[in-house]
Structure formats: C-alpha cells, structure tokens
Subunit: 386 residues, 2 copies
C-alpha cells in the first residue's frame, strides 16, 4: 500500500521517535515519574515559546486553548479587540461572542494580513481603555498568511490591553519571541510544528496576564488557569493529564533541541520558498502575496476548470500525498499545502512532483517537471549559501 | 529496574496491544481513514455504553466531560439536584456553582452511598418541576462506593428532570445499562476501565437530553455537543480529535469485545472480592461496607500507627506496586487500591503480598501470608464454580 505523505496544516506527521515514545507504559500522574516528565517538558517548551512565563498544558484541542484564554481573561460584557484574517481569527470572535464578550473587530480580506495600523487606530480611539484584550492570529491556517506580529506587539504596548496570540500553526516553525516582544498570552496546539499528535493545548501566561486572570475570576472549572498555576510548583496538573502525549512531547522537544530553533525556522522558510516557486512554475496563483506569505502553510488557487476535489483525490490516490482543501468561503477555490513540523525539503519535492503530474492528468497546461526543477534550484542555491 | 504494577483508580495500565496501536502514523482527521476509525470506535463504544444513543467524544479529561454536561444542559440560574458521596460528586457541584447553577444537594457520609430515597424525596418535593437535571456518581472514586444506579434511575423517572451519570470509574467494569435503565447522559473517561491513556472524555446523549440541549443553547464553543452531533453523520468531529487516543481506543474496544462485557464485569467483581477478603485477613478495615463496595476501587483504612505515606513508599519502592492515597478529608486516613481495566487476579495476589510484607515491616501485627492465602481461596472457589 502507498505510504501517505501528510502535507496538512495539521495534524502533521509524527516522527517515528515520537511514535515510539508513546509506547511507554502508563505512570502515576501524582507520582515522581510524572513530575520528572513535567519538569523536562516544561523546560523544553519554554525554549520553544522563548519565554520564562508560566505554562499551562491542557488536555484539549487548540480551540480549547483559545476558549481558555477567553474565559480566563474576560467576563461577559467586557470589550475586546479581534484581528480577523480568516477562519481562526473568526473563531476567537465566535468563542467570545458565545461568552457574551463585546467584540470589536478589525479585518483583512482573506489572503491578506491585518495591518498593525488597523489595531493601532482602534486602540488609540479607545480613550477610556475599555478594551481589555487584543486577540490576534500569528499565522492564519485557513489562508496561509502571517501577521507582522513584532510590529503588532509594539502598537498594543501603547495601550493597557492584554495581547493574546493564537500561535497554533506558527509556534516552533516561525519566529515568535514571547518575552522579547512582550506577549502576554500565547496559545498553541501539539499537532502542528511540535510534531506531536493532537490532544494538548499549550498556553504561556505573563505576570501581567495573571493579574488580569485574578481580577477576572474564572467561571469555568476545566479551563481555570489558576488551578494549573497552583500545581505547577508540584509539577502536577489539576486534572488527569494526557500522559502519553506528554511522553510524545518530551521526545519531540528533544528533537527540536537537537536541530535548533534557528535551523528549524530556516528549514520552514526554505520549504515555503520551494512550494511557492514550484507552484508558480506550474503557472498557479498563490492566495497570499510574498510579503505576508506563511512559512508553514501555502494556499494555492485551483486553476480555472480544475476541481479541487478531483485534484486532491488524484494527489492522495495516485501519489499518496494528502493536502487540505479550502475552508468556508475558500472551499472549492484553493487547496492548502501544509509544510510544518516533521516535513523536509524532499517531501516538498514529492508534493510538487505529484501536483505537476495530477494537474497534467486533469488537463492543465504547463511544462512537465517544471515545479520540481524550480524548487530544486531553490534548494540547491540555499545549500550553496550555507 | 522493578517494573511497576499500576494499581491506581486511574490512569490504569495500558495493555501492550493498545500501546502498539498508538504507533500508527498520523492520518487526516478530515479524510476517509479517520471516518473508518470513527465508525469502528463508535460501534464498539455503543456496546460498552449499552446504548443506541449518540456519542460525543471530546479531546479532554473526564472532568471536561463533566463540565460539558453542565454547560450543555443547564443555564445560569437553573436548579439541579446533586447526589454527593465524595470528591467527584462534589466536583459536579463545583462545576455547576461556578457556572451559577443553583445546586440542591443530597449527601452521604464518605464511605456510604447516597440512598435512592434521598433523591426521590427531593424530587417529590419539587412540585413545580424546577429541578432540570439530577447529577449522580455511579462509582465514587474517592471512597470506593457504588451507587444503586438502577434504583436511582427508577426514582428519577417519576420526575421530568434529566439524569446525568458520572461513570468515569465504572463504565466498562461495572454493569451500567444506559438504554435499559433509561439514562439520559453518561460521562466517562478513556483512562479507567477502557484501558486507554488519559485524554478522551466520552459522553452518551439521549433524545430527551438533546431536546434539553437545544432549548438550553450552549454558551461554550468547545463543549458544544450540537456541533459534535452535526458532524457525527460525516463521522468527523468539529475540532481536531486526539487521533492517537482513538487508535488506542479502537484496539481496547476490540479487546473488550474479545473478553466479553459480562466476563469483564465478573472479573472485576472477583478482583474486588479478593482485595477485600485479603485486606480483612490482614486485620485491615475497609472504608465501604459490603453492600455498597465498589468492584473497581477499594479504600482501605490505614491501621493505627501506620502512616499512609510510609506504606505507599514501601509498596512502590520495594515491590513496585503503585496505589493511591486518600483525597481531601480522607488524606492520611485511607489508601486506595484500583483494580479496574487491564488488571487481573494475579496482579491482586501481588498487591496483597506486597501489602502483607510492607505492613509487617512497618510493625503491623498479622499472620504473614494471610492476605494471599485468603485471596487465593476466593480465586480457587470462583474458578471451581465456573
């Protein structure tokens, strides 16, 4: 059977070393074995988050981490500002609205990035400092667009609001300096650049954010960050942790340390350039412009007359390559190639080769082999620069 | 190194077959491989839940499943009745109180079971049917006490309230007939009798419960059962599922089918009897009386003069046997032996042997070998009855 090459925005491929780590027999989550595991995971994660802030590690999907940020930082009736540039930016608004927070929204057309100035303007207009928090998406998974987060942190610092960053599809693949940039809350999930199966939401919380959490008084038992903070000293969690995924995370963090964060960021930048160059060599249009293009996910417009479903079916059935379709209003318009986590330049070559051949099969007009050739040149040039 | 024998109320030992299943490479949670997995897990779980009701499988700890029941069924200001006989019954009250539900509570002293008549009385007094739901714990993990759930379902059926059962430490080990007994909502976790690592909360929802959910209108994005129901037909979940734990669950459900539910219930009853008989042969007192004693967890009073911590340390350090301490007001008073999931009579013999030897070491006065001898007789008698 064709081994599948998972090129999704997530879940991403799990390295064999990490799969094997999950074969570890179960341990007592109230005993010393778990405390040791906690300590090791915590140290490795702080390196990846580039932070000394406290971490909260929840047994939940990434959306659970997002919901936990809303309920810990805000109360019904509070005002918050949301920067929306796709499905996941909108998700923060939906979570907050369900919780009866009053959302102010700045938007970018899908495929573009919210401009830091849009946020700056809204905050400047908020003379009475009613906006309690600003929620942004570092890397919008639905469009493959990356926010200029460093600049956003600068404009938010002119206002007392807490900054909350959804870094689900960026952390560990695209540079995010939690402490150097002064980010209060960063939320991510295990199943993206961290190379671990889905099931853990990971959140970093600054001292300033803890103060807001305490004033706010969380209504939820399960999402209560304070309950986590209290047990962090004992290296335990308030409810039963997803121990197996912690085993996986420990091994993945070891791999990240071995490769080095800087090298990992460079690998992702290289893979993004290969995908973009290769797709363009086939005459394909990319949703995001170069200035805002993501290093982890590339959304490619399906050429006129070619059905995204047919293309994805060909990629998977014939070449074992799994890519994602478009979400919501981009359904049928784009397909999305995930290139994050345990993915390497050779995988990109395979994806581009499959794309080339499937498109030819579906009647698209381009020079056969053009994508691999163009991406190969990127790879060769980068190799020589080293 | 001494291999550890995990005799906790949870997480329970994960069978090697289940550990191996987690080595399966990652799949697309929006593709056909996951739909197949979903279909197989759903069918196996319905057998264990003894239900045709819909299932909601959340990436969360058991407490998350409990919180999801509160927020889906109730709104702030609603009244609900809670039967509390230990830490986990109280947890339901705490979750609901945080959510501004008005709790009515019936209680039993820790170590005893709430009587169905206590519930009946409160419901009979509620002439205006203000009580929207009744929350009970089938098996109280903190005390090792089992509720007479069948009788409770009968008294609750005299009132329109929805019945919610925390079956975290019972389902799959102690008989629970969801449909035959007419239980609206059953909540469990992956890490107990289901023999899977922690990280999945599993909930069954009756038609009557769905009507309440729809009227209620859930405020939470993450816990929203309706979002799960809508995707059940497509055999998908709204947010990224904890795929690896689904692989584990599929394998564990196969093992459960192979052994047979009836045989599994009998095994747990046998192990409980062995533990109780063995402990008594050492002159130890059991927290729960025989009439309400749990088949999955036994809380044993620490003899006068013997420190629970010293005893647990000896059991783990010398014999590799891991048992739990007491929770909250039982801390220092009892230790708890978990005998559920992937645990067999030979494990019980080892625990009792270790207990015997540690107690002798700590100065307790009893006939050496008495526990194993007494439990061995139980095992032999049961074997002959077959």
């Amino acid at each position: 059977m064709q081994e599948k090459t998972l090129m999704l925005p997530g879940p991403t491929p799990v390295p064999p070393r990490v799969l094997r780590a999950m074969g570890t027999p179960m341990i007592n989550h109230r005993g010393v074995d778990f405390s040791t595991l906690f300590t090791e995971v915590e140290a490795g994660l702080k390196d990846v988050f580039q932070t000394n802030n406290d971490l909260v590690i929840l047994p939940a999907a990434g959306s659970g981490g997002m919901e936990s940020a809303v309920v810990n930082l805000l109360s019904p009736g509070d005002k918050a500002l949301f920067a929306v540039m796709g499905v996941f930016g909108q998700r923060f608004v939906d979570i907050a609205t369900g919780y009866r927070v009053e959302p102010l929204v700045v938007e970018a057309p899908w495929g573009e990035a919210v401009k830091p100035e849009q946020i700056q303007e809204k905050l400047a207009a908020d003379k009475d400092h009613e906006i309690k928090a600003v929620f942004v998406t570092h890397n919008e998974t639905s469009t493959g667009v990356t926010l200029d987060l460093e600049r956003v942190t600068q404009v938010v610092q002119e206002h007392p609001a807490i900054l909350v960053v959804d870094a689900v599809s960026s952390l560990g693949a695209i540079d995010l300096k939690t402490d150097a940039w002064g980010i209060d809350v960063v939320v991510t999930g295990s199943q993206k650049a961290l190379m671990v199966p889905p099931g853990l939401a990971l959140v970093s919380v600054s001292q300033r954010a803890w103060e807001v959490v305490r004033e706010n008084g969380c209504c939820s038992y399960y999402w209560n960050w304070e309950a986590y903070r209290k047990l962090t000293e004992k290296k335990q969690t308030p409810y039963t942790p997803a121990v197996t995924l912690w085993f996986a995370l420990r091994e993945a963090l070891t791999m990240i340390r071995e490769e080095g964060l800087k090298q990992i960021f460079e690998r992702h930048a290289l893979m993004a350039e290969m995908v973009r160059t290769g797709a363009r060599a086939l005459g394909l249009d990319l949703l995001a412009g170069d200035a805002v293009a993501s290093n982890t996910i590339t959304a490619v417009r399906s050429p006129a007359g070619i059905n995204v479903k047919d293309l994805r079916r060909c990629l998977e059935a014939v070449y074992g390559v799994v890519v994602a379709g478009g979400q919501k209003k981009l359904a049928g318009e784009v397909f999305r190639i995930g290139h994050l986590g345990y993915v390497f330049p050779n995988d990109i070559i395979n994806v581009l080769n499959a794309l080339d051949l499937c498109l030819l099969d579906l009647g698209h007009d381009h020079e056969a082999g053009a994508a691999v050739k163009a991406a190969g040149e990127v790879l060769k040039r980068r190799g020589k620069e080293k």
